[in-house]
């Protein structure tokens, strides 16, 4: 039976069993991972996952069932099972779920790429990774180098009882490496990860990155970190490069603007949000120059797609405008919770076997309006630090108190870039931190991102990008983590 007929069969069975709404997804996901260390290839794996998931509404209550057997009899079984689960769950449903309206779409969409990573010979990828290791280990004092590439290709076919039929192909790539320097006599070791980010793009993106230059810089930094001075804790003006700031945006802006968190739907796991619905349109989240946009259409974004897993076309909207909190991330189910008529298209399931729920779109900081380069920003800073690269990150369950580190912190003294300092982390309260943002560069806008962002029970992974230009934050509390407090 053809795929489209199987989709129709799932919807028909669900309707016959009593569903007022149903959608079905047949997904095929290919994953490739290649790992090396020094001169060795430690892993090459290729994984394929194929299956079907049916979601239904019965009397305003959800049910969901899924199977890896994509065949007529099994589709009948899971469609009926999804309805049976929904019926059983009615006993714990307070008010019926109402979906925001969406048109029926019959469409296809795919990540714009020129080089499908699954068509690139494995040998070529292995050669590049081993060359990175070799280049890093040329630096005196660099003891180890691990490197890896991961690729994902999702083929998703969605159909709903409201008439949509949407086929999408999404491609994501995630290369990286870590250099370790060891001083055995002193019993010390330091690492430095590549300042490179995963993207919603193909192998062409990997080919345009300066791997050898970054391998050398990373190795030199790792060695220098062994003898770098420990940071003196206190208040500093902090400049964050996009390679570091993206994760702070993700944790302190992306997650608290999720509507399910704000209303308590993640209370048992990921947590809630300090951005409660009474603050919508009023709360001063950051300084006047701080503007955050949610955008699932952004080129090379990891969360970029044509449609979400509710069948809603993706788009762009403001979350924080001129420093004020103005909107949330929503799905069809959630729009009515805050009186909105349409979904922002944030429904996502990590696979055929997972139920769709609200996941983060690409959330980015708009560049500054005044003409400003990173060099000018450093020159404008008297006593500060500049942080590059994601490192340790932790934030509380309402997204207030966070503590982030960096792959490398360098001192800025009297407008000049100084040496590496070690053991630094910035600790702040979210709205205070964004209120302290006094300058955002107009140049240097770059996408960073998370290949695997966790949320939900059962846990699901989402990939999401965050763009920004370098920005400065005044009088940020820098702690020395080696001193424990």
């Amino acid at each position: 039976m053809a795929e489209r007929e199987l989709l129709a069969r799932a919807l028909e069975t669900a309707k016959q069993k009593g569903a007022s709404y149903a959608d079905v997804r047949i997904n095929r996901t290919l994953r490739q991972a290649i790992n090396t260390r020094e001169k060795r290839v430690t892993n090459i794996s290729n994984n394929e996952s194929f299956g079907v998931g049916v979601r239904v509404l019965v009397d305003g209550t959800w049910g969901f069932a899924a199977s890896q057997r994509v065949e007529a009899a099994e589709i009948d079984r899971i469609a009926a099972q999804a309805v049976a689960i929904a019926k059983a769950n009615r006993v714990a449903q307070a008010k019926p779920i109402v979906l925001a309206p969406v048109k029926a779409y019959r469409d296809t969409w795919q990540t714009p790429t020129t080089k499908d990573p699954f068509r690139i010979p494995t040998e070529r990828k292995v050669d590049l990774l081993l060359a990175i290791n070799e280049e890093a280990l040329k630096v005196k004092g660099a003891a180890f180098c691990t490197s890896q590439m991961a690729f994902v290709k999702e083929e998703k076919h969605f159909a709903s009882s409201e008439g949509s039929d949407i086929e999408q192909t999404l491609i994501r790539s995630f290369p990286g490496f870590t250099v370790t320097a060891v001083d055995r006599a002193a019993g010390k070791f330091k690492t430095r990860n590549a300042l490179v980010e995963p993207v919603g793009s193909g192998y062409e993106w990997i080919e345009k990155f300066d791997w050898m230059g970054e391998a050398q810089r990373a190795a030199e930094d790792a060695v220098r970190k062994l003898t770098a001075k420990s940071v003196e804790p206190g208040a500093y003006d902090l400049i964050l490069a996009p390679s570091n700031l993206w994760l702070t945006i993700h944790e302190s802006v992306g997650h608290p603007t999720e509507l399910d968190r704000a209303l308590g739907y993640e209370a048992n796991y990921a947590g809630t949000s300090f951005l409660t619905t009474d603050k919508l349109g009023k709360f001063k989240f950051g300084s006047d120059i701080v503007n955050f946009v949610a955008d699932r259409t952004q080129p090379e974004g990891l969360a970029t797609a044509g449609y979400d897993d509710d069948g809603v076309p993706t788009g762009e909207w403001d979350l924080i405008r001129d420093g004020v909190f103005v909107d949330y991330q929503t799905t069809r189910e959630q729009a009515a919770w805050i009186g909105q008529k349409q979904s922002h298209g944030c429904s996502h399931a990590q696979s055929w076997g997972d139920v769709p729920f609200q996941r983060m779109p690409n959330v980015s900081l708009r560049p500054g309006k005044e003409k400003l380069t990173l060099e000018q920003l450093i020159a404008d800073t008297k006593r500060g630090l500049i942080g590059e690269g994601r490192s340790s990150y932790s934030i509380d369950q309402q997204r207030y108190n966070f503590q982030f580190s960096a792959q490398v912190f360098r001192e800025i003294v009297d407008g000049k870039l100084g040496d590496i300092v070690e053991d630094a982390a910035y600790q702040a309260i979210t709205p205070n931190f964004w209120a302290s943002c006094d300058r955002i560069c107009s140049d240097g806008y770059t996408l960073g991102g998370s290949f695997n962002d966790g949320k939900g029970e059962p846990g699901q992974s989402n990939a999401v990008s965050h763009g920004c230009a370098p920005a400065r934050f005044r009088n940020v509390n820098i702690i020395n983590i080696a001193r424990k407090s």
Partner: protein, 443 residues
């Protein structure tokens, strides 16, 4: 109905027949996982999902490659064998490649419970409905998650090895929040059989903690005498175990590396009160009969009376260092003392009780220094009694320091950490020194 040993054997036989490699191994994983989630005092999402995965690994001399699929038709099996063999042919020679294991002898444990694997949707819905009802009565918002699952796994290779294991797992957790947003309490655990869980009691514990944690008072950051409940201890033990790779220690890049070279095996690393081991035969947290490449699992002391006894050795590193291959643990058991958590509170003059930890991340792997938050119930203890709730903290501390400073422990509990939901851990609550680094207004 989960995959049987005979069915697994047939799939493995078929895949091995298709392979032309020098050596080939096939692993199979079969699962049925069902769940129900509720929040905001109503059911939210739920599901029932079946899956079956097959992974083939092929080797030509010292070159190897693997491929996997979740389809078991002839064409799919042929495709992954071809893909694994092509990958192997293009792979570099791995100087550390080890020959596959031959037939092994395994213990005959089968911790599988049909009733748990096939728990009906109505059972899950009833748990949610009761929790929500209690929430409404007591002006609390309930959010919780119940799962039940059955798993079967098999491993076979061209050298005659065949291994099969099954297990069931159920998890339940419930968060209660006071409706004005000022208090939050949690209770959660995992078990091998649904019948071992007492959801009503756990919901009551979470409700009581939420009510007690209203009007939390701030406390200055600093080092305190702290009772960490078993969930918090479980998370710290997980992070400790992540650092226990022998090779990384020999290479000088973990806490367990000895200054000047080698590992700290044989050295005292934490308090002599502390003993930690893995024992897959422990009925309180049964582990599988084999792990990874098919090695039989066994009881392994990790830390005995404060002294490091063992690290995890891959087969290659064990051969190189003349040690026993020791896979990563199937479970973790930490020896406790007598008495309950309440007894530990009663014997504490001045301290802080921490329900659980949250968002734990590494700060410095050299010292296993971590950061994270407290969550869902922090209380001040004075004169052996809980006096009032305390606002949450960020903490920066190390499991090594926590285990070094233990002065009292409760009995052992089956515990579930915030970041180790499905892993089987048995451990006590501990009284120790703990460093709160900054205050958090988060509830």
């Amino acid at each position: 109905m989960s995959l049987t040993s005979d069915e697994a054997r047939q799939i493995i036989k078929r895949v091995l027949e298709l392979s032309k490699a020098d050596e080939a191994s096939v692993s199979i994983s079969d699962s049925r996982e069902a769940n129900l989630r509720y929040a905001h005092n109503e059911v939210s999402t739920s599901g029932d999902v079946t899956n079956l995965g097959v992974t083939v690994r092929t080797s030509f001399g010292k070159r190897s490659g693997s491929a996997s699929t979740n389809q078991v038709d002839e064409a799919s099996l042929r495709r992954i064998v071809k893909q694994a063999e092509e990958t192997a042919r293009f792979a570099r020679e791995d100087p550390e490649a080890m020959p596959m294991l031959g037939a092994q002898e395994y213990e005959s444990r089968d911790p599988y419970d049909d009733a748990t694997a096939n728990t009906p949707a109505e059972y899950r819905a009833a748990i949610a409905a009761k929790a929500i009802e209690l929430g409404r009565k007591r002006n609390l918002e309930m959010a919780g998650f119940f799962t039940n699952a059955g798993y079967a796994e098999a491993l076979g290779n061209s050298k005659g090895l065949f291994a099969f294991k099954r297990r069931t797992l159920t998890t339940f957790s419930n968060t209660a929040r006071t409706t004005e947003g000022g208090g939050s309490g949690w209770s959660g655990t995992n078990a091998d059989r649904t019948a071992e869980l007492d959801p009503a009691k756990m919901v009551e514990t979470a409700a009581m903690k939420a009510e007690l944690s209203r009007n939390a008072r701030p406390l200055d950051p600093g080092q305190y005498t702290v009772i960490l409940e078993p969930s918090a201890v479980a998370d710290l033990l997980m992070y400790l175990s992540f650092s226990m790779d022998a090779r990384s220690a020999d290479e000088g890049r973990t806490f367990f590396a000895k200054k000047g070279g080698g590992t700290k095996i044989g050295e005292k690393v934490v308090s002599e009160k502390v003993s930690i081991w893995t024992d897959p035969a422990d009925v309180r947290a049964p582990g599988a009969v084999y792990s990874g490449e098919g090695l039989p699992t066994r009881k392994v002391p990790l830390i005995e009376n404060g002294v490091l006894k063992n690290l995890n050795y891959s087969r290659f590193w064990a051969q190189k260092m003349n040690a026993n291959p020791t896979p990563t643990p199937e479970n973790l058991i930490m020896k406790g003392d007598r008495g309950t958590i309440d007894d530990l509170v009663r014997s504490t003059k001045d301290g802080v009780l921490v329900t659980r930890l949250w968002y734990i991340r590494s700060l410095d792997p050299q010292a296993i220094l971590l950061t994270g938050l407290t969550r869902d119930g922090v209380f001040r203890i004075q004169g052996g009694k809980i006096r009032h709730a305390v606002k949450n903290f960020r903490w920066n501390d190390s499991p090594v320091s926590v285990l070094l400073n233990i002065d009292a422990m409760s009995r052992e509990y089956r515990a579930r950490g915030s970041e180790s939901e499905d892993f089987a851990i048995v451990c006590p609550a501990v009284r120790t020194k703990f460093t709160f680094s900054s205050a958090s207004d988060a509830v």
